[in-house]
Symmetry: D3
Subunit: 126 residues, 6 copies
Amino acid sequence: MVEYADASPEVRAVFDDIMAVRGTDWINNFWKALAHDPVTLRRTWESIKQIMAPGALDPMTKELLYVAVSTTNQCPYCIASHTAAARKAGMTDAMFGELMAVVGMANETNRLASGYQVKIDPQFGG
Amino acid sequence: MVEYADASPEVRAVFDDIMAVRGTDWINNFWKALAHDPVTLRRTWESIKQIMAPGALDPMTKELLYVAVSTTNQCPYCIASHTAAARKAGMTDAMFGELMAVVGMANETNRLASGYQVKIDPQFGG
Amino acid sequence: MVEYADASPEVRAVFDDIMAVRGTDWINNFWKALAHDPVTLRRTWESIKQIMAPGALDPMTKELLYVAVSTTNQCPYCIASHTAAARKAGMTDAMFGELMAVVGMANETNRLASGYQVKIDPQFGG
Amino acid sequence: MVEYADASPEVRAVFDDIMAVRGTDWINNFWKALAHDPVTLRRTWESIKQIMAPGALDPMTKELLYVAVSTTNQCPYCIASHTAAARKAGMTDAMFGELMAVVGMANETNRLASGYQVKIDPQFGG
Amino acid sequence: MVEYADASPEVRAVFDDIMAVRGTDWINNFWKALAHDPVTLRRTWESIKQIMAPGALDPMTKELLYVAVSTTNQCPYCIASHTAAARKAGMTDAMFGELMAVVGMANETNRLASGYQVKIDPQFGG
Amino acid sequence: MVEYADASPEVRAVFDDIMAVRGTDWINNFWKALAHDPVTLRRTWESIKQIMAPGALDPMTKELLYVAVSTTNQCPYCIASHTAAARKAGMTDAMFGELMAVVGMANETNRLASGYQVKIDPQFGG
C-alpha cells in the first residue's frame, strides 16, 4: 500500500481531494492499494465522486445500494467499508435490518425465477 | 404455469392476496410458476409481503435495492419485473440512471478491492 | 455448431460415446458447440463421464446438484438441460419443488451471512 | 452478536426452537447475528425449518445442495457451517469428494455453455 | 434506445468519438441505451477509451479479458459484443478455444479452492 | 491437507509431476487439499496441465485470464495464487494495473448492459 508520506504529488492530490470531499483526515486501504496505479486511482475516484454525489437519489440511498451489491457479490472489504459509510450517512439499525432482508429475498427470488425458467410477462416488456 | 382459472383454492387464496396487496387485477408469471409448489408459493409471498412493506425504508427504496441485486445477478426476469415495480413506486428516469451508475460502479470497485487483495481497515472492523 | 454428418472422426468418436453412455440417439447443442475445439470436447466429456457416473452419490443426486449450481449462476442453457436430465434420472415434481426451495434459501442466507459479517464459529473450524 | 443470556424473550423463543429441532445445546453465530433483527430471525428460521425438513428429498441431500450453492457463491461462513451440517447428516468423505467434483464441473460447463453462446435445444424446451 | 438522428448534441459528440476511435460507422445498442443518461454515457465511454487503449497489454489481450469476465458473469450481451471485438482485434478460432478452456477451468478450480476451504500459502502472502 | 511425506504412491506421482512441470520444489495447499480425493486430484491436474500449456495463447496471458476470472468470482485463494503465477510468468506492475482496470470495467459494463436490458445487435448475432 502507498502511504501518504510516500506518495507522489499526483497521488497526494487525489488523496487530498478524497479527504476534502469526505471530511475525513485519513485514507482507507482501498485507495492506498489503487495508488500503485495513479491512472486507475484518479479515474476511479473521479467516477465515484461523480456517482455518489447527491442527485436524484440521496447519498444514503446510494450507500444502501452499494451495500446491496457488495453483499450479493460476497466482497468482505466492500461490505465492511460501505456499511460503515451507510451508517455515517444516516442508516439506522432498523434500516440495516430491512436492507439485509431485501437483499436476501432478492437473491432468493432471483434463483426461483431462473430455476423455474419463468418467461418475462408482456406487461414487463417480454 | 398455473392460471387462475385452473388453480386450487389454496393457490387462488394466495393469488387473491397478491392482487389485493398490489392493487392489480393480474398475476405475473413468477407466481404462476411457483404455484406448482403451493407451499413455496405461500411462503415466498408471505415473506415478500412482509419484507417489501413500508418500514424504516420506503417501498421505492426497497424496489431500487431489488433491481440492484437482480442486475448484479444478471436475472433478466427479475430486472424486468422489479424495474417496472420501481417505476410504479415512483422511480423517475433520473433515479434509474443514478441507480444503474451506482450498481455499475459497485460491481467495478468490488473487483478492484478483491483483485488488489485489500485488507479491511481497523476503522471498518478489520 | 458441428453436426454429426460434418464431424471429423475424432469428434464422431466422442459423439458416439456420448450417445452410447446416455442411451440416446441425438447430441445436444452443448457438445456440437464444443466440437469446434476437439481437445476441449474430449476432455470435457471424459471429465463429465467420470464425475457423473454412479459412485458414493447416485446419478439423480448429482443432477440435482448440477441444477443447483446452474440456477445459482443463472445459466439458462444449463438449467434447461440439467433439469431435463434430472427428470430423466428420476426427479419428481415434488423433488423439483424442494430443490428450488433449498437453492433459493441458500442463496438468501449466503447473503445474510456475508452482509451481517458473521464470523465462523470455532465448532465449524473458525 | 446477541448471546442467549442477553436475548429478549422473542429471540430466546427462536433460539430454543433451533436447539430443540437440531438437537444441539448451542446457537451458531449466524443466528446470533440475525437476532439483531428479531423479525428476520424468526422468518428465516421458520423458512429454513420448513425447507430443510425431510420431504421428497432427504435432509442429507438438502445439505449437499446447500453446500453446492454456498461453494458456488464463495460464502466462507456458509461453506463451513453447511459442510459440518452435511457431515452430521451422514455425508462421508467419498460423498464430499464427489460433491466437490460435481460442483466444480458444473461451474466449468456453465461458462462453456454461455461463452460458446449455446442455444437451448428444442428437446429441452428451447 | 436513442438513435443518432434523435440524439442531443452532447450525445452525438460521444457517438462521433466512439465511431472515430473504433473506425466504424455504426453505434451498437449498449451506447444507444446508455444515451438515456448522457452523464453515464460520457463517463463510461471515456473510461473504456482510456482502459482499452494499447498499453502494457495489447488491445486483443484486453478483449480476451473482457470476454473472460463476461462469460463468468453470464452476460449474454457482453459475451456477444466482446467476442466480436476480440475477433476483430485478431483472436483466432484456436485462441477462442483456449480462452474458453481457461475460463471454464478457472471457474471450476475457484470452487474447488473455496469448497475445500484451502488456506492461502505463506508463499502467496497468506 | 495431505503432506508429501504422508501421501500414497498415486498422490505422490501427481505431486512429483506438478513440481516437475512447474520447476518448483514445493506443493501449494490447493493440491494438498485435493489429495484427499486422488481421482479429482489427478483429473484436475491433468486438465490444468493441458489447458495452461503454451498454445495459441502464451502462458502469461492464460494466467492473466485466470486472475480475471478469480477476481470476478471473489476467490481469495485463487487471486493470491494466480497473481503470483502471473508475476512468475512475466506480468509486470503495469500489466497488473491494466488487468485490474479491464476486470473492473468489464464487471461494471456487464451490469449496465443487463440493467438497461440491452438487446444484442444483429451485427453481433442477435
